[in-house]
Symmetry: C2
Subunit: 315 residues, 2 copies
């Protein structure tokens, strides 16, 4: 049986011993990076340099909340708003693989600069067990690598610190609860953020649409779970489809775009079943999205595919 208290104590002691100088952590505010930062902060304090990048592809109010969290955790942090840079780097780019690559490279350049300026020696990675364990085939690594930021280039010669390397996701959540971190129940969010939830070009306008739709999906599903109407999904979000479909405004036929809702149940993210959302909840989500995003979105669909054959994210 996994003992979170013991893990915390031993990990802090080990980091105190092993990590002897300035250390960089990329901080998304998700469960893994927040647990890493909390543990290492307890071990080495201000020697830990925490960097949060607002890529412009974060969820509604997310970067503001991450900032508050870093303050509350008394981290030594850099808050970098690079949204304009990311938007212009993705201008005109429709290919999903290219989008991911450009975002990964932008991240690297930002972290490289901080590492140089701050004379960093160690780099924290939030790697967890399912990211590296042999799984009989190569599926696990192939899929997972696409959901994280590309990784730092080898010539940076930073020493890796991976405090969660032996943990599974549910164990990381246990540690987060033991540390009383407010992010312990947060759903996973991909490194490239909303950019992979916008099929086609991820313009600022289209990002605003999917950001609003994601917010509605999260709020409605969380409220339904609270009311006991459904199980908490592993992940739940919205995707913007560049499909023109006809709708009715007043007495006119008007073409608008489509929002897809995705929600899945899973134990380990390796296989997933689409979440069974009650009809009245689905109806509310659909109506709120088309009302809020009138003239832009006139159709909402629900992804009813399991993994496999499809993945959780669309890109």
């Amino acid at each position: 049986m996994f003992n979170a208290e013991k893990f915390i104590e031993e990990t802090i002691a080990k980091i105190k011993k092993d990590v002897t100088s300035k250390t960089l952590i990329a901080f998304s505010g998700g469960v893994d990076s927040t647990v890493c930062a909390a543990l290492i902060n307890r071990a080495i304090g201000k020697q830990l340099v925490t960097v949060h990048v607002n890529t412009g592809y974060m969820r509604k109010n997310e970067s503001e909340n991450v900032k508050k969290l870093m303050e509350k955790m008394r981290l030594n942090y850099h808050f970098i708003d690079a949204s304009k840079e990311f938007y212009s780097a993705l201008k005109g780019v429709e290919d999903p693989e290219k989008k991911r690559k450009i975002i990964g490279e932008k991240f690297i350049r930002i972290f490289e600069k901080v590492a140089r300026d701050e004379k960093i020696e160690y780099l924290v990675q939030g790697t967890i067990a399912p990211d590296w364990i042999e799984s009989g085939d190569t599926l696990r690594d192939t899929i997972k690598s696409h959901h994280n930021v590309g990784g730092l280039p080898k010539d940076m010669k930073l020493k890796l610190v991976e405090p969660l390397r032996d943990l599974y996701k549910d164990e990381v959540r246990k540690v987060a609860r033991a540390l009383k971190l407010p992010v312990s129940e947060k759903q996973p969010f991909p490194g490239p953020g909303l950019a992979v939830r916008i099929i086609g070009e991820a313009t600022p306008e289209r990002t605003e649409i999917v950001r609003e739709a994601c917010d509605i999906v999260e709020k409605e599903i969380e409220s339904a779970v609270e009311k006991g109407l459904m199980e908490m999904p592993w992940q739940y979000f919205a995707v913007l489809l560049p499909v023109k479909s006809v709708g009715i405004h007043g007495d006119r036929r008007v073409y608008g775009n489509v929002i897809a809702v995705r929600a899945v149940q899973s134990i380990d993210a390796m296989t997933c079943a689409f979440s069974k959302i009650p009809d009245e909840v689905m109806d509310r989500i659909s109506t709120r999205i088309t009302n809020t995003l009138k003239e832009k979105i006139n159709r909402v669909v629900y992804d009813v595919t399991n993994k496999p054959p499809s993945t959780v994210e669309w890109e």
Copy 2:
């Protein structure tokens, strides 16, 4: 209370009196055109020239079944396979309005030729009451005109015969039942056929995909209705989306297209609610589509929008 037997008797008598020479009917095999053809055939026999056009955008086995029906009804018919012509006319055309216009014009040219060759004087239209009744706004006409073939040009100077002009859809179905027509419960199908269920270019390859998916949706929903698992929808079908989304084949990430399933409940098609399909039925539909169309389709979504704000068909 509507009396189908009386309506049949009076209509046949009226047609015998009014329609004195060769008459053309465009025969899709749907409820309206089949009822019209049956009534007029009883009144004027071989003077009725029935024309069925296989546009290539018909459902699986549909034109073959229409041919059998025309034979069974002992109609004087032309069966015209124009699929190659329609496919090449739509090559490279992505705009939904242009697609509809091209299909409407092709239909007209085919009917014009038959009308000239056969020296036709009358033209049957399956107009029903909701198509022309004043509705307070112009919505009804605007929407409806897009679901029918464009209509014949005015300079053809054909006299119109509209035997169903005063009937509502449920009354047309009553007449079909009284006439023992096997199409009495058939769901409506748009004039441009599967072409408006393929978002983007309606190539032969993409038509095969949506034809197969439509067939799976129809069979699974009909079987679920038969088992008492759900109500019979007003319409139910599949739409092919030109969206690239990632899926898993073996250990590889592979991009495929998306199939949207649409099913609605309605009294009069003016307003609709998305059909509540049980989870296990949805799961079967999704799995059958991704299994059957492997390598092409790896994701299935269900349209959860009511009308308004969206229409029943996507284009």
